[in-house]
């Protein structure tokens, strides 16, 4: 085996893949959220639709979006390999376990939280991305230029209670997932020092809460506004 394959298929190497892809996805989450918050502007969706048009046609963004899908898959596949390995390491479970106070709930349930996020992603892509790419979006005209009216599609989707509930639940799961993942990624890279441990932990929790609330308020506000 080549040295790089040997490194990346070791248990530590696979964790590094989780951390690297995790960091990239964190950047994506920030960019995606700042774009989506434009949905809350009270302009009938003009700015959001123009933004969606830009994102759909900029070659740099298109390249990054391919990377983004690749990294999501890599994150998911690596986690499946690790989870299988981890459960195989303990074929006989404990009959009595009182380990709940020795670690956080999120840290023990990353796979479960990740699965909720993955199912959400499939629903989310089917709702919006698929329609945007392969049709099903009405057109709208601003200053004589035709744009896809993604805003209306979003507005209509978020009139359905079940979709709003799915989104809010998934964002809570994402918040919990990040509350451990953010800190854990730093440790996987070997970054652990009393000078900044507290800062990373605090930043991770603040970020998780901000992301969960930031995303979850979008469907809730749209549901009540229209």
């Amino acid at each position: 085996m080549s040295w790089i394959a040997e490194t990346l298929t070791s248990s530590v190497g696979r964790k590094v893949i989780m951390a690297l892809t995790g960091f990239f996805l964190i950047l994506f989450i920030i960019v995606h959220l700042s774009g989506n918050l434009q949905l809350l502007l009270n302009d009938g969706g003009e700015q959001f639709n123009k933004y969606a048009h830009f994102m759909g046609h900029n070659p740099l963004i298109q390249t990054v979006s391919i990377l983004n899908f690749t990294f999501i898959l890599l994150h998911v596949i690596t986690s499946i390999i690790l989870t299988r390995r981890n459960s195989e390491a303990r074929p006989v479970k404990y009959h009595v376990s009182r380990m709940q106070n020795s670690s956080t709930w999120a840290s023990r349930n990353m796979g479960f939280l990740g699965s909720i996020i993955f199912i959400f992603l499939v629903v989310h892509l089917a709702n919006f991305w698929f329609k945007m790419k392969f049709g099903g979006v009405p057109m709208v005209e601003y200053d004589g230029v035709q744009y896809k009216d993604l805003f209306t599609v979003v507005k209509e989707a978020f009139q359905q209670e079940w979709i709003v509930i799915v989104y809010v639940v998934a964002m809570v799961a994402l918040g919990y997932h990040l509350s451990h993942g953010f800190m854990s990624a730093f440790r996987t890279f070997g970054l652990h020092h009393r000078k900044y441990n507290g800062f990373i932990k605090g930043l991770g929790i603040a970020f998780s809460i901000a992301v969960a609330i930031g995303y979850a308020i979008i469907p809730v506000i749209i549901y009540f506004r229209y």
């Binding site: 070791s10 530590v12 690790l82 106070n101 020795s102 023990r108 996987t188 890279f189 070997g190």
Partner: protein, 259 residues
């Protein structure tokens, strides 16, 4: 004290195993947990029954031989070794559930005894320095800053009991391996073989079938010696350094053979 013990009994590695309930009376709160098991075993021997097999050696918390998952926690409710756990940590009338460490690389030998040779093989893979240490040198012959010496010593206090593996939801041996890697990497004697050591020890840890680290921190919380997870971060650092920066992360003879 009167206690009800639910103890895992398993004839050998191939037996399925089951819990057997025992009553013990006349337990003094000053007994250690192992002494309490000795009392049980004496009564079993008197009755002509097979005594419960459990690991123990020094009984003063320094050898790492005792184990036991007691009431859902490795080494029981206190952060110490089972031999240093005293019956005053329990109440009269308590039911105590006792299980062996559960991990695929730690197969059950009999009852509560597991085979921890996997740890020995990880040490054999690289947890040493390849020179004779000779007789003790003069102090300060090799200057080592106090903070480095303390860090190395803290890591070296790992007794290899396996509580970290038992505590980890993934049965990961990262804290153990991290302590051993850190202890030598921090000292000048261990420095020349840093890269080879961490590479080989991680490879052996994986080959033994331990799980991967999820950074839950349960190992640190349950370690009877309080080994810090910062050693795990150091292991990750050492591993990445060995793989991406060091010229040689394998012994020269293996490189020559193209392995």
């Amino acid at each position: 004290m009167k206690l009800t013990l639910k103890i895992w009994r398993q004839k050998d590695a191939n037996d399925k195993g089951r819990f057997v309930t025992y009553q013990v009376d006349d337990v003094s709160p000053d007994m250690s947990f192992l002494e309490m098991l000795d009392v049980l075993n004496e009564s079993l021997i008197h009755k002509g029954e097979d005594p419960v097999a459990f690991d123990h050696d020094c009984r003063e918390g320094i050898c790492g031989m005792c184990s036991l998952f007691i009431n859902g926690k490795p080494h029981g409710p206190e952060q110490t070794t089972t031999c240093q756990l005293h019956m005053r940590s329990f109440k009269d009338g308590d039911t105590i559930v006792i299980e062996p460490w559960r991990a695929k690389p730690f197969p059950v030998v009999k009852d509560l005894v597991v085979d921890r040779s996997a740890f020995d093989r990880i040490i054999q893979a690289g947890g040493y320095i390849s020179v004779n240490t000779g007789s003790a040198q003069d102090a300060n012959n090799i200057p080592i800053p106090k903070d480095k010496a303390s860090e190395a010593f803290d890591a070296a206090t790992c007794i290899g009991c396996g509580a970290c593996v038992a505590a980890c939801k993934n049965a990961s041996a990262m804290l153990f391996v991290a302590a051993k890697v850190s202890h030598l990497a921090l000292l000048p004697q261990g420095d020349p073989e840093r890269a080879i050591r961490v590479s080989k020890m991680v490879a052996q840890m994986d080959a033994e079938g331990f799980g991967a680290c999820t950074n839950t921190g349960a190992c640190e919380a349950e370690c009877p010696k309080g080994i810090s997870v910062k050693n795990i971060a150091r292991l990750n650092r050492e591993f990445l350094r060995a793989k991406f920066i060091e010229e040689v992360d394998k012994p020269l003879e293996e490189l020559a053979e193209g392995k």
